[in-house]
């Protein structure tokens, strides 16, 4: 029994952690390839990030500083619960500051502040298979990956262009990793896709329900799927200014102003927003 009550350090038993680490190493060795692993039952509901949580628990050490973000915010119920669980079973420090964290578990966002080589980003993935919508059978999608047949992913893009004229909407736009495997980057906004390309930090992706781990190692080429005459484009953030910190060019949430009837914008990455507000307050 450890000093953290009846649980082993970081909740999982050492055998489970080793198995997850082995799958993680394989995922790093084959960038973008989905490695199956024996996903455990977790004391949070499936679909709320059990894949990401298991990655975090298998990697975390007593000296780590943990940050957990849910759609850009550190304070959602989900983020708070995950932090509480990890803190109580490890005793590690948590922080909202991206720069302070060594491990960052995230749902639906990559932080706006560029990550460093000593940091690891863990993304929670609901549907890891980018071809699932066009091919429901796992044995077939496996073969398509093996043969590098990504026709289906392009047909999906083509269909979006036919329906909407362009593809600037919809999260989870698939990326090709290291010119080989196409993967789902998890439902991040399109503006986050380029952050995966030649980044300094290791990015791990975990899908608990689908029992898959995959990875983008540092300094790996990551390109968003596109057509020659329809190059990849992010959401249009031009002309949007954060009502709180004044930032521009970052991913924002639209806030409907009930009193005045208008629409204002706020940074989606709340900890970066707060940091900018603090800096402004110090400067004035």
């Amino acid at each position: 029994m450890s000093r953290h009550g009846t649980y082993n350090f970081a909740f999982l038993d050492e055998g489970s952690k080793r198995e997850i680490r082995r799958a993680t190493l394989k995922a790093i060795a084959i960038p973008g390839y989905q490695v199956p692993f024996a996903s455990r039952e977790m004391p949070i509901a499936r679909g709320w990030g059990t894949g990401g949580l298991q990655l975090t628990l298998s990697l975390i050490g007593p000296d780590d500083t943990l940050k957990v973000i849910d759609q850009g915010t550190d304070e959602s119920v989900n983020a708070v619960n995950i932090k509480a669980l990890i803190r109580s079973t490890t005793g590690v420090t948590t922080s909202d500051d991206t720069a302070e964290a060594t491990l960052i578990q995230s749902r639906h966002r990559i932080p706006d502040k560029p990550l460093r080589p000593d940091q690891i980003l863990i993304l929670q993935v609901p549907i890891p298979e980018p071809l699932r919508f066009v091919e429901p059978r796992e044995e077939v999608t496996r073969r398509l990956h093996a043969e590098r047949d990504y026709t289906g992913a392009y047909v999906l893009l083509f269909e979006q262009i036919m329906r909407h004229g362009d593809v600037t909407t919809g999260a989870d736009p698939p990326v090709e990793v290291h010119d080989r495997y196409v993967m789902a980057p998890s439902p991040i906004p399109r503006i986050d896709n380029p952050k995966m390309d030649h980044g300094d930090a290791l990015i791990l992706l975990g899908a608990g329900r689908e029992k898959k781990i995959y990875a983008v190692p540092p300094h790996t080429r990551v390109t968003s799927l596109a057509f020659d005459d329809h190059p990849f484009r992010s959401e249009d953030v031009d002309g949007r200014t954060c009502a709180l910190c004044g930032a521009e060019g970052v991913f924002m949430d639209e806030i409907q102003d009930a009193q005045h009837g208008g629409t204002t914008f706020r940074c989606n990455d709340t900890s970066e927003c707060l940091a900018r507000m603090n800096a402004r307050a110090r400067a004035s």
Binding site: V134, R143, E147, D149, T151, Y154, V155, F158, E159, I161, M162, R163, F227, D228, D229, H230
Partner: protein, 280 residues
């Protein structure tokens, strides 16, 4: 003298479902009932089928249900693995390499660049969750086209050609009639200008008037595009209308082959005679 290579050569194609036993492998004549072994239950869907298709020619394959017609096309389109046999396309390695020994990646290339298929069941040939234009583009994307404008323009031409109103190109084939679905399949099959089309019962299950229009379309494609075709049908009337030469299949075997006119006028095999007389 110039000799033109056949567009397609199929040599001694056999397809078994089951492992077979000594009885049905060595004494097929006595061991098989229909196409199925009395002893081990193995289905001999195709037994030693050989034929050639020449440039611009329409080869008809006729025979009753279960005679192996679809299996021939499925093997050629790599949907099924033949048990034995060889196939050569003039457009692939100048007809010198057996298609059925090609790697998975090469097979995909052959299928996407050199073949077009219309499935008996449109659900197998089309994705009903996508628009018709995306269904046609799929074949071009599979052949590595990455230009939306070009593919859309090509699909538009093909839809006009197959007489589907282009204002419906963004509609899913799910919402189309059976005849229109077959025409979308034909447009898709033609998209990469393959040297040969594989047509499996294109008109089966359609109303007579719709059938006639699809058959007219096939005639027109043959005239305008000059692409070779294998036309599979259990309906001899369809074969008579379109095929230059015909193979008659029964229980996985070719029982007769020759010019369609000759077969119609002077059928040799009793089974063919039965088929022809039933038409009169």
């Amino acid at each position: 003298m110039t000799t033109t290579l056949p567009v397609l050569t199929v040599d001694d194609l056999s397809k078994r479902y089951g492992s077979g036993c000594a009885a049905c492998r060595d004494h097929a004549e006595t061991a098989l009932q229909g196409n199925t072994c009395r002893h081990c239950g193995t289905v001999h869907a195709l037994s030693g089928v050989s034929f050639e298709v020449h440039p611009g020619e329409v080869l008809g394959i006729v025979g009753e249900s279960g005679s192996g017609k679809s299996t021939i096309l499925n093997c050629l389109y790599f949907d099924e693995e033949p048990t034995s046999g060889h196939a050569y396309l003039a457009a692939y390695e100048r007809g010198a390499a057996d298609l059925w020994t090609a790697s998975g990646e090469r097979r995909r290339w052959i299928r996407n660049h050199l073949l077009g298929k219309v499935y008996q069941n449109p659900m197998l040939g089309l994705n009903m969750d996508f628009s018709s234009v995306a269904n046609i583009a799929e074949k071009m994307i599979a052949a590595n086209d990455r230009h939306v404008g070009r593919m859309e323009a090509r699909a538009r031409v093909l839809l006009e050609h197959t007489r589907i109103p282009t204002h419906r190109m963004k509609t899913s084939p799910r919402q189309f009639s059976g005849g229109m679905q077959q025409r979308v399949q034909i447009a898709k099959a033609l998209s990469n200008e393959p040297p040969i089309l594989l047509l499996d019962e294109v008109t089966t299950g359609l109303d007579l008037s719709v059938q006639a229009r699809v058959l007219d379309l096939i005639k027109q494609i043959r005239r305008d595009v000059g692409v070779a075709m294998i036309l599979v049908s259990h309906d001899l009337a369809v074969i008579r209308m379109l095929a230059d030469r015909t193979i008659v299949m029964r229980d996985g075997r070719q029982v007769e082959a020759g010019l369609t006119d000759q077969i119609m006028e002077d059928p040799q095999h009793p089974y063919t005679q039965e088929l022809v007389y039933s038409l009169l």
